[in-house]
Subunit: 643 residues, 2 copies
């Protein structure tokens, strides 16, 4: 469905070429701008062009440009990006164009490269289109491009290009969703197919979601047993706490192994982000990159560190302070209102409404602060001027993550450590688990679905009476969908879940069971969101889940302290200690001892479980050995001066 | 002095060839054995020979064989071992024979390679001499060599070769010791010259010794101030404890950087132990190494792990138990004797002598246990069958280290945590610091020196009436010295010092000052030991101090807990807590809080201080990039099947 339409066309492309990526100019598009853009995207690399196959899509508005690539440029870009592909003996080898005969299928890019890879490579080529001399943008004389400035990103920034998105392939998506939904109740997903269609990062997300859900099952079974058999021996907290601490380590360690296996099979395990091309927003005076020797902007890392230390971190702390102040103010106000309501015996209706006021105000405050903070974090991270996209994303993720962590968990920590009220903690946890998850799913999925159903979007207005060919029409309507917001919120949800399970599940053993049920529907809603409610996102090569791995592991360390503390304050254990004639000081010492033992155990486990399965470790060492040998045999490249 | 003697010789070597390594056969040596050995060592690589220059040293006994190498074989071995050397632009590049023109001085091995490197390369070539067919050893028909069996190691095992040692070069050593001793009081050492003469591992040891001593200076100054100004504000423990915790992290983090810089300059930073040749003792059915593709013995790692888990670790625990039992029995006996002595009012002299009995018996017991354990650890590690020498050494070090750690510190921990007697701890520490260090130095240096001075060694007997040429004579007498025992005990001493400084110096602030004084003499005794009292050790390539880095870091983590505990039980802090009206439970909670903060701080510092300086990081990335590029350009090597 998404191949070139067989209508006769001025470019004389054969009808078998599949459009991979679409660019949509702002309506009304000027003919000279479009002509110039097409010529640049078709142009030769030497002249700053992208060397792509470009088709001025025959839509009514004349705003659409469809992109594809020749097998030659796809394979060239595969080498430049350093993707590994199965060689003829089955092991994954970093692709090089010279050795292409060693890679089965390399003459047929559609079999050799997945859809996601081809779209990534086209995006990479598009991003690399630059002007060589200072030029005004045809049709927009006030906009000037300077030598080396990326064309497509600049036109996007100026709003001349409105949308830039990869295209769906209906048949492939149909097969994918069928395979996905048919086994969803067994938490089985066609991960490799998802990755082929949406790229590595999306593939890893769904793989992690499934892995995490399955890892919750033993805890869920244990929790249900605890709950329904009403087991109440005095050390039940102790057992569940130790279980959840070890569970968090095991889950993350085995995930690392699973993830490395996936990354190897997908050819991204050996990707070196240091050798990546700089991201579009990276600026600085042009200089030779000391590592790769390529000409690119240069911004010294000490300046970046200074910006992070002196500006970003203080600003983050201001926001954390604001969040904390909000919480304490809310708690104060809430208590004050409760007390005065009781004093006045709740006479009027107005007073009853007032009871909900602090809670509502606080929710509003947090929501507002969240939005402002997210914007500030994005601006700060952009201003920190990170060289590669992955560093940018990691820094942004860490910023938002810390803030959300405080927002999500500070209340629970306050109840645990300061108020020491396990009854309240249990109540709060159960309401959070049920209410917030329902709200989340409605917010994430039902709302956008309804909005789309009833065509309330302003974006679709001027296409309503479209007379385009059906295929072009579907390309345009894909562009009308909102851009995919990224995986941050999805991971954040799992992060919060992981926190509930590892930090507090000994207080409320049903946690894991509720999370398993939630996650099965989560797979469904997330996949629906991805396939139907948003533009197809550009694929992103990834070998792991990035900072999220660290974030989950840090949460696992927090779990030790929290669980040990919960044990000491639990009434059952307190009673037990009194029975044995222990002073509070002694029981505290035992808790510290337990904490130290558990942390040591966690560290030992993390070391004892290798991060890669043995066979994979051998494969990696083989690759290292070959590159070491190759280096010795190759002519020495002059090292560049280190600045 | 150590070049070939100018007496006419059947091999017709020019007199400028320097002998690097000596082999001494057991006296009386059989002529046919010696002739065969020389032919094998001279023989071509293809025929299993070592391709060395061999000189049957003209000593009276006819037991000596002197080894040297041609420039060609030295450079070939440099490539095989993967040493990096300065290329013409000054950066360190892994040497390859094909590109030798890019390495300045590579045509003059004596300038290009250090003495230690040349001796290492000769040893490597010697170790690689093998027989191709099953052969009896000439002169020893009962000894048969099998195909692939290393000749020199086997003859050593059977006692046919008595000694195998690298030779000193008098002039070079003279220059080295002059430079060493002239600045010793300023803790300045000619580290690069030490490394050129003795190899990387010895160079790194002395570099670490100096680095550690300098890092102790600030703590020593603070400690002396505390001691002599009798500062006694209530939180002095607190300040000193925090200082020593942060000090331990800073020291090890900055050492890592320093060490990486050294390793880069010495060309060992990129050495990959995985690609090393297996050690001589490694056995197993011959197979292809899955990484390098070379034929070598193969022993699956799961079997090794099983042996470690099921045999080595339980045995270690038995010994740890014996050590612990010894300590408790000693403490029990000591108390019992004290009490009964006081009850009988110490009437007889015999009773007074009995007072010292437990202490003496305990010392004897520990000494005996130590020796047995060391032997058991060596046997176990050999039996675990590690593939490379570095893994073998690391495993052996860890085994002995854990045992010694328990022996050295369990008493102090017992006094701290169980008896909670800071007064006794202080007394014990000061006596340990002064007495044990004096004993150590006498034991390590004075004793061997006196033994040597008065020629009490049996080994020198049959050379007394030697009529050898003076040079050959000196070669023989070098062989008469005992073999260098390795760096384990030297590192162990520093490890114990590091423990005293980081764990307990808040109790006895003079610790650091005493250690500084001790270490300055330690540099002197260690260097004297190395240069004069023992055979020159074979050099060993090293990029870091191996497991010792980890051991010091683990001690740093122990330091947090111990220091926090000492603070809570110190009378001054206890009083302070009472003044503020805190319950013991609350003050304990504060101590836990402090511990958690300090550990977090340590982790943050360890992350914030990069392990390599920025310029070095860039150099390493350049190298990685080049090898990545080289890999892509090289023809694909068939990967071997992974077993």
């Amino acid at each position: 469905m998404s191949s070139w339409t067989p209508v006769p066309c001025q470019c004389c492309y054969t009808s078998s070429i599949q459009s991979l990526v679409a660019i949509q100019l702002r309506y009304p598009a000027k003919a000279e701008t479009k002509r110039w853009l097409v010529s640049k995207l078709e142009g030769r690399k030497k002249e700053g062009g992208a060397h792509l196959l470009v088709h001025p899509g025959e839509d009514d508005d004349g705003t659409l440009v469809l992109l594809s690539a020749t097998p030659y440029s796809l394979l060239q870009a595969t080498e430049v990006l350093g993707l590994a592909k199965p060689s003829s003996d089955g092991s994954m080898v970093t692709f090089s164009y010279n050795n292409k005969a060693d890679f089965p299928n390399s003459e047929k890019p559609e079999a050799f490269l997945t859809l996601a890879e081809r779209q990534l490579l086209v995006k990479y080529a598009t991003d690399s289109a630059k002007v060589l001399q200072e030029t005004p943008v045809p049709g927009y004389p006030e906009r000037r491009l300077y030598p080396g400035q990326p064309i497509v990103q600049s036109l996007q920034k100026w709003g001349i290009i409105e949308k830039f998105y990869p295209l769906h392939v209906e048949e492939e998506m149909h097969l994918l969703t069928e395979a996905w939904y048919s086994q969803i109740h067994k938490i089985r997903q066609p991960i490799d197919a998802i990755r082929s269609y949406f790229g590595d990062s999306v593939g890893l997300y769904f793989s992690f979601l499934g892995f995490f859900t399955i890892s919750l099952v033993p805890m869920a079974i244990l929790g249900v047993l605890y709950h329904y058999l009403s087991l109440s021996f005095p050390d039940k907290y102790l057992l569940f706490a130790i279980f959840s601490v070890l569970w968090s380590t095991m889950t993350m360690e085995f995930w690392k192994r699973h993830c490395a296996t996936k990354a190897y099979a997908w050819g991204t395990l050996q990707l070196k982000s240091h050798f990546e091309e700089p991201r579009a927003g990276y600026w600085g005076p042009p200089a030779l990159n000391p590592i790769t020797g390529r000409q690119e902007p240069y911004y010294p890392s000490w300046k970046r560190k200074l910006r992070i230390m002196l500006v970003s971190i203080p600003i983050i702390f201001v926001f954390l302070g604001l969040a904390f102040d909000g919480m304490t103010m809310y708690l104060y106000w809430e208590r004050w209102i409760q007390v005065s309501y009781q004093q006045h015996h709740g006479s009027s209706r107005l007073a009853a409404v007032c009871l909900y006021l602090p809670s509502c105000m606080y929710t509003l405050y947090i929501e507002l602060l969240n939005r402002i903070y997210k914007w500030v974090a994005a601006v700060l991270t952009e201003w920190e001027n990170h060289r590669v996209e992955s560093a940018f994303q990691n820094q942004l993720t860490v910023k938002v993550l810390v803030f959300r962590f405080i927002n999500c968990f500070s209340g629970l920590f306050y109840i645990t450590f300061y108020m020491q009220d396990l009854q309240l903690l249990r109540k709060r946890l159960s309401s959070l688990l049920i209410v917030s998850q329902v709200i989340n799913q409605v917010n994430e999925c039902l709302l956008p679905f309804l909005l789309q159903k009833f065509q309330l979007r302003p974006g679709t207005a001027h296409h309503e009476n479209s007379k385009d060919a059906p295929v072009v029409d579907s390309f345009v309507s894909e562009g009308d969908l909102p851009a995919y917001p990224g995986l941050f919120d999805d991971y954040m949800e799992l992060f919060v879940q992981f926190g509930y399970a590892s930090l507090f599940s000994c207080v409320y053993p049903l946690t894991a069971a509720l999370l398993v049920v939630n996650n099965i529907t989560e797979i469904w809603t997330d996949s629906f969101k991805l396939c139907r409610l948003f533009q197809k996102p550009f694929p992103c090569p990834a070998a792991n889940i990035g900072v999220w791995q660290v974030a989950f592991e840090v949460l696992g360390i927090f779990a030790v302290g929290t669980n040990c503390f919960i044990i000491t304050i639990s009434p059952e254990v307190k009673e037990l200690c009194l029975d044995f004639g222990m002073t509070p000081e002694q029981s505290l010492l035992y808790a510290i001892g337990l904490e130290h033992i558990l942390i040591t155990l966690k560290i030992v486990m993390a070391f004892a479980i290798p991060d890669q399965p043995h066979w994979l470790r051998l494969k990696v060492l083989q690759m290292e050995y070959h590159s070491w040998e190759a280096l010795k045999q190759s002519a020495i490249k002059r090292a560049l001066p280190v600045s």
